[in-house]
C-alpha cells in the first residue's frame, strides 16, 4: 500500500528557548538528520494548543513532534508540565478517533542538545515510516 518513495511529512512545534535553540545547535554542529520536519517556533511548548495538533493531523500531517525544555528548565516556570499533561490526554483521544497515538510525540530537548534533536528526528521519521501515511490520506482510519 505504501509507496516506496513516500516520505513522511512532520510538523514540529519547538519552544524558542530550548528546543528551537537545540535545533539551531544541531545546525551549527552540522549534525545531519532527515529533512522531513518543518519547525514552527513558539515561545513555550505550553503554547501548543491541542487544536494545532488536531488540525495538523486533519491536514494529513504524518506526525507531530512537540519539543520543549526539560522539566525544571522551562523559561516560563511550568509551561512544559502543562504540555506533558495535554499530550498524554491527546494521545488517548487520538486512539479514540482511530489515529495511532505514536503520531504525536513529545520530547524535551535543551538548547545544548543538538545531537538529541537530530536523533529524535531520525527516530521519529523511522517510526512514522513503519506506521505508514496518515490514515486520513486514504479516506479515514480503518475500522
Amino acid at each position: 500500500m505504501t509507496n516506496k518513495n513516500w516520505e513522511p511529512k512532520i510538523v514540529c512545534f519547538a519552544c524558542r528557548w530550548c528546543s528551537y535553540a537545540g535545533a539551531d545547535m544541531a545546525g551549527t554542529s552540522r549534525i545531519q538528520y532527515p529533512a522531513n520536519a518543518r519547525v514552527i517556533r513558539v515561545n513555550c511548548s505550553g503554547r501548543v494548543d491541542p487544536q494545532f495538533i488536531l488540525r495538523a493531523l486533519k491536514l494529513k500531517a504524518d506526525g507531530v513532534l512537540i519539543a520543549g525544555c526539560h522539566f525544571g528548565d522551562c523559561h516560563y516556570i511550568s509551561g512544559n508540565y502543562q504540555t506533558s499533561r495535554r499530550v498524554a490526554l491527546l494521545k488517548e483521544y487520538l486512539k479514540e478517533i482511530g489515529l495511532e497515538p505514536e503520531r504525536l510525540r513529545l520530547e524535551w530537548i535543551s538548547a545544548a542538545e543538538g545531537h538529541k534533536f537530530a536523533e529524535t528526528m531520525k527516530a521519529f521519521v523511522n517510526e512514522i515510516k513503519l506506521l505508514g501515511p496518515n490514515p486520513l490520506a486514504n479516506g479515514g482510519p480503518e475500522k
Binding site: 528551537y20 535553540a21 529533512a35 518543518r38 514552527i40 503554547r47
Partner: protein, 656 residues
Amino acid sequence: MSTEHPKIGVFICHCGSNIAGVIDIPKLVEYAATLPNVVVAEDYRYMCSDPGQDLIKERAREKGLNRVVVAACSPTLHEPTFRRVLENIGLNPFFFDMSNIREHCSWVHTHEEEAALEKAKDLVKMAVARAAELKPLEQKQVDVKASVLVVGAGITGIQAALDIADAGYKVYLVEKEPSIGGHMAQLDKTFPTLDCSSCILTPKMSLVGQHPNIELLTYSEVREVDGYVGNFKVKVERKPRYVIEDKCTACADCLEVCPVNVPDEFNAGLGWRKAIYISFAQAVPNAYVIDTEHCLGMTPIACGKCKDACEAEAIDYEMKPEILELDVGAIIVATGFELFDAMQQLEYGYGKYPDVMTNLEMERMLSAAGPTEGKILRPSTMKKPKHIAYIQCVGSRNERYNAYCSRVCCMAALKQARQIREKYPEINVTIFYIDMRAFGKGYEEFYETTAREHAVTFVRGRVSEVRESFETDKIVIRAEDTFLGQPVEAEVDIVVLSCGIEAPKDLSEFARILGLQRSADGFLLEAHPKLRPVETNTDGIFIAGAVQGPKDIPDSVAQAKGAAASALAMVAAGQVKVQPYAAIVNEDLCAGCGICEASCPYGAVKVVDNLAQVTEAQCKGCGTCAAACPNQAIAPQHFTMEQIIAQLDALFQEAK
C-alpha cells in the same frame, strides 16, 4: 496599516556558500515569487550586510512593501537586525518574519540537495503565510533601575563590580563565601608573568570594600529572581556570620580560645583552622565568621569561649538569616568554577596515597603564606622531594568525566614546575601530558623557556597507572611515551594531578533560579558563541568568567569588562524596550471560566466580573493560557491562533 492588503517582500540570503552551497537559490526565489501576497522575491550574497539591508529598504520603498520575510539564518541571530531595517524605513518592526534555511536546513541536510530545497520552499511558504497575519505591535519602553547585581566575587565579579561602580552606578556584589577573592586569592603566582597573585588581587579587593557605590554582601546567596529586563526583583539571603562585621577588628583573640580544629579549605585542606576563622589574612571584609557545623555550640554551656574573649564585643550568637530584597536593572553572573574532584579518577590514587596531590594543594604549598610557608615537602615523610611528576588532563579531555579542555592546567603546571625548579634546582620535574596548550599572549614563550632554561622534562602520553613502589617508598607512574612508542615507568616522590575546571555543582539550581540555559559541558550558555559571548537569552542577564566555560585570568577579566560594559549600556540608557508579547483577551469570546487564571505561571491573568484580565507588566507571553482556553478567547501577541494556523495550512495546502 494592519487593514492594508499585505504586500510581502521575500529576501533570500546565500550566506556565502553556507546556504547557496546546498540550496538552489534561483529555484527558491522563483518559487517564493509565486506565493500569495508576495510582490517581490530577491536574493543576495549576505542579506545581513549593509548592501543586503539597503536592498530590502530600496525594494520596500519601490514596491510599497508592508511585510518583509527574510530566509536566512536563525532568527535568534538576525531577527533584531532585520527588525531594525523595518524600523528605519518606517515600517512596524513586527511586520517581519524569518525562515531559518541555514541552521534548520542547509547545515543539516547538506547532502540532500533536493530534500533541502523542498524544505526551504516549505519554510518560506510558511513564513509568508504567517507574515500576512502579522499585526503591528508597539514595543513599550520601561525604565531601567540604575543598579546592577553582580553574583560571585572572584576576580571576574570584582572587576565587573568596580567598572560599574566607577561609572557611577550602584552595585550589589553578592558572594557566598565569607570573603571575596575567589580562586585567584588561593594562587601563589600567575602565569606567564610570574607576578604574585595576591599583589595584583588584594588592592582590587580593598577597593571593592571601600567603594561608595558597592554594597558588598558576603556570606550571602541569591534565592529568588523575579521581574524582567530593567526591573529585576532579587531576594538575597544573608547567612548569619555570628560576628558583627563592623565591630570585628580581626585581632585573633578568639582563635586562641577556640578549641576546635577544622581542615582549612583555603589551604586546600593542607592546614587547620578554627571553628571561628577568617579565610585568609587579606580577606574582605576583614571579619571573622563562625562555622556552625563545627562549632561546639554557641552557648556558655557548650562552649562560648570566643564571645568571652572578644573585647570588641563583635560576637553575636543570636544572629539570624536575613532576606534582603534588591531592585536592580541588570544582573551579571560570575560564579566561577569548581576544581575536578580527583577522587573520581581512581587510577591516579588520590586519597589513597598521601604523596598524590592536586594542583591546588601544590599551589598552596608554593605560597609563602601557605601551610608550609612556601617549602615543598613530601606529605608522607615531610621531607624535601627529589622528583615531582605532573599528570595533565585529570578529569579533562576524557569522555568518562569531561570531554572539554580546561584551558588553564597546562600553563598552571608549567608555572608551578618553573617555580619549583627556580627554588630548588635539585628537584627534577616531569610533566606527563597529552598536548601542551600554551595559547595565550606570552604563553608559548613561557613554555619554551620553562622547557629549555629550566630543564623540565616532558613526556607525551596519558598516564595509565599510579601505585606505590614494591621495593622503595616511592610512587611509580606508568605511561606510554607516544613519541618513542613504548611504555615508560618513573619513580617519583610526589605526583601532582592537574585537575580540570568544572561547572559548580549548584549551578544547575542557580541557572533555574535565573531562567538561564546551560551548555552540554554544564557551564552557562551564552547568547552567541562568538558575537554575544557575555549575553544570555534572557535580556538583562549577563555572564562572565569561568561560569561560561574554563578561562584563565586575562580572559575572565576581559569578559568581566565586557559584561560590565553591556550592563552599563543598558543602565545608562535609562530605558529599555520590552517584547510586546503579552496576552490579550477577546472579550466577546471570554466566558470567564478562569481556566487561563489557573494555567498562568505568573498570576498575570485574573477573572474580574466574568472576564479574564491580563496584567501586562506581569505577562511574559508564554501562551500557556491560550492553549488552555476552551474558547480561544486569549492569546499572546505575535503568536496568535491565526498566525500559527496560517503556517500549518500553508504547509499542507498541497497535501492530498
